[in-house]
């Protein structure tokens, strides 16, 4: 069974969509010009069977984050179909909604609510989350007094306690000091062994190698190569780092 499946997915953004002023709408209405589209993904197809891991690799601007955003249900594809089966935790950013003036504990509850935990679950897991982060001593202090390492540790701890079927991870694995990195990696591997499905983006090969069986190499929104992790990564490294 496939946990994630993409069929001929294309995603276009209209250019200059960041600047939405009345003036531009009027101009468009009068001239009848449809803004030209910029394609972040073109005709991408792949499947991730349940319990496996797929790494998305490629240079900056290849369309990796757009692909994750579409999988997480944040954006709709311009054409093509996607299917995602199971509860998804999209760790596209650590500490969504964190605010410096709230205490560590208040931020945990806020972040947990946004990530999709119910109030009961959040309260039940609160101690586990705080213990995992290792910042219990400061949990009642405002977040702005934390070091940046402590903030990401707290954020990561909420994220890995979500208990999803599918984890979508965008470069958020290497956080904290060496000891915490080892601990968080062990936690991820635990989830991996428990049969969770992974969709990962990272520029660190080592991080991906243990989690992902397959890889998909994107360039300018097109699939360059898809297949076994080692094979795709070898080709990718050969091309991007000329000998």
């Amino acid at each position: 069974m496939n946990a994630i499946s993409f069929r001929n997915v294309t995603k276009g953004f209209s250019r200059h969509s960041g600047q939405q002023l009345l003036q531009q709408h009027l101009k468009r209405l009068i001239t009848g010009k449809v803004p030209e589209l910029f394609y972040a993904l073109r005709d991408v197809s792949f499947d991730v069977p349940a319990g496996e891991g797929l790494a998305i690799i490629g240079a900056n601007g290849a369309g990796k984050s757009t692909l994750l955003g579409i999988t997480a249900g944040l954006a709709k594809p311009t054409s093509g179909t996607i299917e995602v089966k199971g509860r998804v935790a999209a760790l596209l950013e650590l500490g969504s909604g964190f605010h410096p003036d709230l205490t560590g504990g208040e931020n945990v509850m806020l972040n947990a609510s946004l990530m999709g935990l119910t109030e009961r679950q959040a309260k039940r897991q609160f101690d586990e989350i705080v213990d995992f982060s290792g910042v219990r001593e400061f949990i009642g202090e405002p977040l702005r007094t934390y070091s940046s390492g402590m903030v990401v540790r707290l954020a990561f701890s909420v994220a890995v306690n979500l208990d999803p079927d599918i984890l979508i991870i965008d470069e958020v694995l290497a956080v904290g000091d060496a000891a915490f990195q080892a601990k968080s990696f062990e936690k991820i591997m635990q989830l991996r062994r428990a049969g969770k499905t992974f969709l990962c983006v990272s520029h660190s090969r080592d991080m991906l190698a243990d989690i992902c069986d397959h890889a998909l190499w994107l360039e300018h929104g097109r699939t360059m190569m898809a297949g076994g992790f080692d094979q795709v990564f070898r080709e990718y490294s050969d091309q991007s780092v000329p000998a």
């Binding site: 955003g69 954006a75 709230l102």
Partner: protein
């Protein structure tokens, strides 16, 4: 897709607003009282000493106008900008997007409650009494909050696609100060405008509050009907617009 708990998210976002707002103010809740109190004193001074009005209980009269008006303007504006203020979250978290404008409006309710407490204390102090008619008041405020939520839904998505929207809202609020009977009585409005006036739910609710608190009568049925209808239209329209534009939010934020 998102299996979270909508009430928990709403509660968390509202709590966040409260905490941030009140933790950084040494005087806390006192600030909620200061603004309407000062405005009330200034207006009472102007309309009893400079342009004398024959209204008895002018402070209560003017607060009945100021409080719903200031709640409305602040909540409408913060609702309008809520999606852009939370753009980071919308691009990263699968939370239903409706929670942002709704939470922005509801966060201002504590403000409203504190100011209403001020109004009622001054009313009691000025010799008015609690009567069964006061049971109408919660309904009036619920209508106001619901109407503002409807507007916030619609304007928040508009503001993403047309960024000038927030300036339209700001200007409308300035104009509205004069078009809501805050410092003049409803009776002073020429008869041919009166009907139209009641379709402005903020004006209608000010009027209803004055009928209850100052005149000790039930608010007139026609006013409540009109306010109810306009509220339903605002919620329905806002919700439809939001639903229509929601799928494209990611691309435009």
């Amino acid at each position: 897709m998102w299996q979270g708990d909508l009430r928990f998210v709403l509660k968390s976002l509202i709590l966040k607003d409260f905490r941030i707002r009140y933790r950084n103010m040494s005087l806390g809740v006192f600030w909620s009282l200061l603004n309407p109190s000062v405005m009330m004193l200034v207006m009472t001074f102007v309309f009893t000493k400079i342009l004398p009005s024959s209204r008895p209980n002018f402070p209560v009269f003017v607060l009945c106008g100021l409080i719903p008006f200031s709640f409305f303007t602040i909540a409408w504006l913060s609702g309008t900008t809520s999606l852009i203020d939370n753009a980071g979250l919308i691009k990263k978290v699968r939370v239903p997007r409706e929670v942002f404008p709704i939470a922005a409006v509801l966060s201002n309710c504590l403000h409203l409650v504190i100011q209403v407490a001020l109004l009622l204390s001054i009313a009691l102090f000025s010799g008015m009494h609690v009567t069964p008619r006061w049971l109408w008041l919660p309904l009036i405020w619920v209508l106001e909050v619901a109407f503002t939520c409807g507007l916030a839904l619609g304007f928040s998505v508009l503001n993403v696609f047309i960024r000038d929207t927030r300036y339209v809202v700001e200007s409308a609020n300035t104009v509205l100060f004069w078009l809501v009977p805050i410092f003049y009585p409803f009776e002073a409005i020429p008869a041919r405008f009166k009907n139209l006036y009641q379709y402005n739910p903020i004006a209608a609710l000010v009027l209803a509050m004055r009928q209850v608190i100052l005149d000790d009568t039930a608010p007139s049925a026609s006013i409540m009907m009109k306010a109810g209808i306009v509220t339903l239209v605002a919620i329905g329209g806002g919700w439809l617009l939001f639903r229509q534009l929601k799928p494209r939010l990611y691309d435009y934020l």
